[in-house]
Amino acid sequence: MGQIHLHRVGPGVTIQDLGRPGYLAQGLSRGGAADLLALAEGAALLGQDTQLAALEIAGSFLSVEVTEPTRIALTGAPMRATCDGAALTWQASHALPTGARLEMSASAGGYSYLHLGGGIAAERVLKARSAHLAAGIGQMLEAGDSLPLGADSGVRAGLTFTPQARFDGGALRLVETPQTALFPPDLRARFISTRFQKDTRGNRMGQRLIHQGAGFGLDAGLNILSEIIVPGDIQITGDGTPFVLLSECQTTGGYPRIGTVLPCDLPRLVQAPAGAELWFKFISLEDAVALESAEARRRAGLRGGLRPLIRDPHDIADLLAYQLVSGVTRGDELEREASC
């Protein structure tokens, strides 16, 4: 079975999958990839199961090689990627030859994903492979680590698609929480008319937001019993600052929650670069359910939006090796041409 060797590893590189649903009662949040859409996109590019584990790169860098020819896909926050020095298109799948050096660096922030054909086959802990750093499951990967790869049942590479726009901030839709009504109407009105920015303080547990002007705290002395938290909840901490809880959040908490970001809008939050504007909009539960359902259907159909990766001839070092014009194709040129 193939392996991936990690040569240079920046901070915040972890194995991630869909996480561990089913342990909330024991105090363990689901965890899993910060951008679940990117996980689905990688699975679509490689034509494989969304359950398979990938490498999540939290705004840093990574340099790897594989011990067998391996299909890869690059999704999430765009990085500069090269294979033995040749540029690779992000939001695309490629064939990575044995021993070639894949280098990824310089994203604008957010979370980037390296998917491998067959997935990362590291041992499961509590039925999943994702690191849950807050719970002490798994760890950040380090230079020198080697990870086993699963058997790849697919063959196609050299595909791309147009990702859902989510890399420049924007509007995040909210549903009310059982505590929304604790916030006076004027405070809620000010909240939804405020433009926020992502703070540099953010991680897989939660993202702090910053803004100009007064905070959104409730009157001191209002005691709220610690209550169930779900990812997307916006808790207002003691100093009036909004903090959006994410995949590795705690399972209960005592700060009041002003609203819950729709799961389908969380990728827009986690992928917003530092400084991008974010703002909120309340919608009805009925509309939120319909939007989530539509997004689930859209994700299930991502494979239908794939198209061949057309290379710019200027980027092709050995032009003669490519059959650019041919009346007869064998059908696997895309795979072979996409090799670096």
């Binding site: 807050a134 549903v175 009504a181 109407p185 809620r188 019993l225 169930i228 705690q250």
Partner: protein, 251 residues
């Protein structure tokens, strides 16, 4: 436009949406013995009923949470099923869940391992010795597991322990730390910052992801702390990965 936030529920128990795909059934807005029992019993009943589309359930101190698969059910149908179940009996009179255990857990109180015993005792109006005696006199209930994996909220302590959290945060307490505030104790399952006062230290690992049964405590279990000397504690920590904790079945 200001959102038309629904009115905070005055009638309990209440059934409200939590997030897009969740439901929260609340039995109390403050912690009472009856509301905690109701939440534990109602969650057990929801699990037994196997309502369609319910993917998982959990409890907070006084509420039950259900995560739904909206491909299999919808909010209205689930709400009706829950309201029927709520009407079927008086949940505030419910007995505690089946299969509970009583845990005896050695703990060292005070010393450099748990430096805030004197401060917390003073806030409770007790001498340190009387404080330890009071905290170890009777079993405490695991009222809920939450915040971190396997981490219990234990209570309810006598009224003199209604002491506030400290205003500042302690930068880090170790795994196994026992801390007190608002008539409860928390036994920390991970090393974490906290506003609760660190009064005791155990050698118990509450979350063992590498074990077949990774979670030690369950909601409804009872915990009796047994004060030990620092020397005895060090010996336990060296020799016993279970931290000297022993369990017996209740009922």
């Amino acid at each position: 436009m200001t959102p038309p936030a629904s009115q905070a529920s005055d009638t309990l128990p209440s059934v409200r949406a939590l997030g897009v795909d969740g439901v929260l059934v609340s039995f109390g807005q403050s912690l009472t013995e009856a509301a905690n029992r109701a939440a534990l019993a109602f969650r057990a009943a929801v699990e037994t009923e196997s309502l369609p589309g319910v993917m998982e359930t959990s409890t907070s101190l006084t509420s039950v949470y259900l995560r739904l698969d909206l491909g299999q059910t919808d909010h209205a149908r689930t709400r009706h099923a829950l309201e029927d179940l709520l009407r079927s009996r008086d949940w505030y009179q419910a007995s505690l869940p089946q299969g509970r255990k009583l845990w005896r857990i050695p703990a060292v109180f005070g010393t450099d391992l748990a430096p805030q015993l004197d401060e917390a005792a003073s806030l409770a109006g007790l001498s340190p010795d009387d404080a330890v005696a009071a905290l170890c006199a009777v079993p405490l209930r695991v009222q809920t597991i939450g915040f971190a994996p396997g981490q219990p909220y234990l209570g309810e302590l006598p009224p003199d322990w209604d002491i506030p959290r400290q205003t500042g945060l302690t930068a880090r307490v170790p795994e196994g730390a026992l801390a007190v505030a608002i008539r409860q104790m928390v036994l920390f399952s991970v090393s974490t910052p906290t506003g609760w006062r660190h009064i005791g230290q155990t050698a118990l690992r509450l979350f063992r992801p590498d074990q077949p049964d990774p979670f030690v405590l369950r909601p409804g279990d009872e915990v009796l702390f047994q004060p030990v000397t620092r020397a005895a504690f060090e010996a336990i920590r060296e020799s016993d990965p279970q931290g000297g904790a022993v369990a017996e079945r209740l009922g």
